[in-house]
Subunit: 278 residues, 2 copies
Amino acid sequence: MQRIDTQDELRRMLAAHRELGHSVGLVPTMGALHAGHASLIRRAVEENAVVVVSDFVNPTQFNNPSDLRNYPRTLDQDARLVEMLGATFLFAPSVQEMYPSPDTRVFNLAPLDTVMEGARRPGHFNGVAQIVSKLLELVLPDRAYFGEKDYQQLLIVKQMVRQLGLPSQIVGCPIVREADGLAMSSRNLLLSPECRKAAPSISAALRNALPILSAQGVDAAKQKIANDINATTALRVEYVEMADPETLAPVHEYAPGHAMAFVAVQAGSVRLIDNWKY
Amino acid sequence: MQRIDTQDELRRMLAAHRELGHSVGLVPTMGALHAGHASLIRRAVEENAVVVVSDFVNPTQFNNPSDLRNYPRTLDQDARLVEMLGATFLFAPSVQEMYPSPDTRVFNLAPLDTVMEGARRPGHFNGVAQIVSKLLELVLPDRAYFGEKDYQQLLIVKQMVRQLGLPSQIVGCPIVREADGLAMSSRNLLLSPECRKAAPSISAALRNALPILSAQGVDAAKQKIANDINATTALRVEYVEMADPETLAPVHEYAPGHAMAFVAVQAGSVRLIDNWKY
């Protein structure tokens, strides 16, 4: 495994592999790697001859400066793990390297970016589109891997790739959960002990909503999910939405396989998201 | 990933998987996992539905009490890595659990265990055979994975499996090296900075021996390897042998593909081994 921190060097290394006909997989991350990232990297290693893991805390996708400041950074530990997982390159550029001048591009991602996280985190998905498009254009991977924990991001990246006509296949990978059900997230590292203990209530509420969704419909299920989470003192629901898994359009009537619940929850100073397909 | 510390529980969990027809891979380790172990675990995860990584510092294979006492132990870190690599179970039993009473079995592994490591570490391979047979009989894996860094051990385990009529396939996996050529080993953690800096001379000496082996034969090559390593102050050669890769019988004339060099080197208080096929 080789650590690379400049675009030029990565381009040069990948060109050599391309000449040999090697397929290339990309796993874009913001570091603080956990078992969710590991599952993406494992899949990329299985499916590609060469795997680039990028490790870059992208400032343009943070709408909250303290969230950016506090975002966990564990680069040396990440490097060790990336090597163990059999990836070829760890690309960990500086902010200056990725943004030598401000990125003023505005992407048109509506309506996917106008709901849920898009509505609550102004500019977030535009920043995601900026960095992901830069990485895809740099690496030109055959496949790029994204986790379904950030499901709305996954759909938005797919749409951006279509808009830009990029040649990469975007591969979504299932959420990996802790043994108690909490969706893996780098931000879990920042949870207080009390909030960490409370956090599994989020996935439990999602998991337990199916009977009421089938019997009483979407509104009752959304209400039940919110009530179940809010019943835990350490957690406060920001939103619960039920949306179509392809379009993110709000769902009002339940049809099996066509409804997905999305939640954002404040746990102390940490904001957590999760989702569940019914 | 589930941590298990008793034989009974592991047997119970595996029986459930067996009923579902799942294949089982075993990666026996003594912990302090590095990229070499990771490559074994990755391969096991690719080839089996269920993977057991055992993490047990086996006392019966240590002929030197201070080596046993100083052997690095990093169980929590190992567990995190085993989970990231996608293994199913980490089996980390106590000594009492694996040896409720002393194991008095004596294996007949000659002539494989009478040369090289077998000659220098009395009882070592008998201890290896004790623990590996216990693990194979416990897990009954379809495949068990061993690194070629301990090449003599690999051949001995294969012979033991034939002798006992065990149903497992023993899979040997290539040595993984640091960027500077040093063969990955848990004992590398114990090297002083000076010895760590010197240690790549071992693999360099092995790598550079082919021209002299081809031109001047086995004895000259052995002498050259020993001289090259001993030229580094921090390293002292214990032995250099050239042997047949199937039988470990000494090789006196070079035939391509049928000669393998084996070295043991003292680096400060740490004993390192390596090998190279020509």
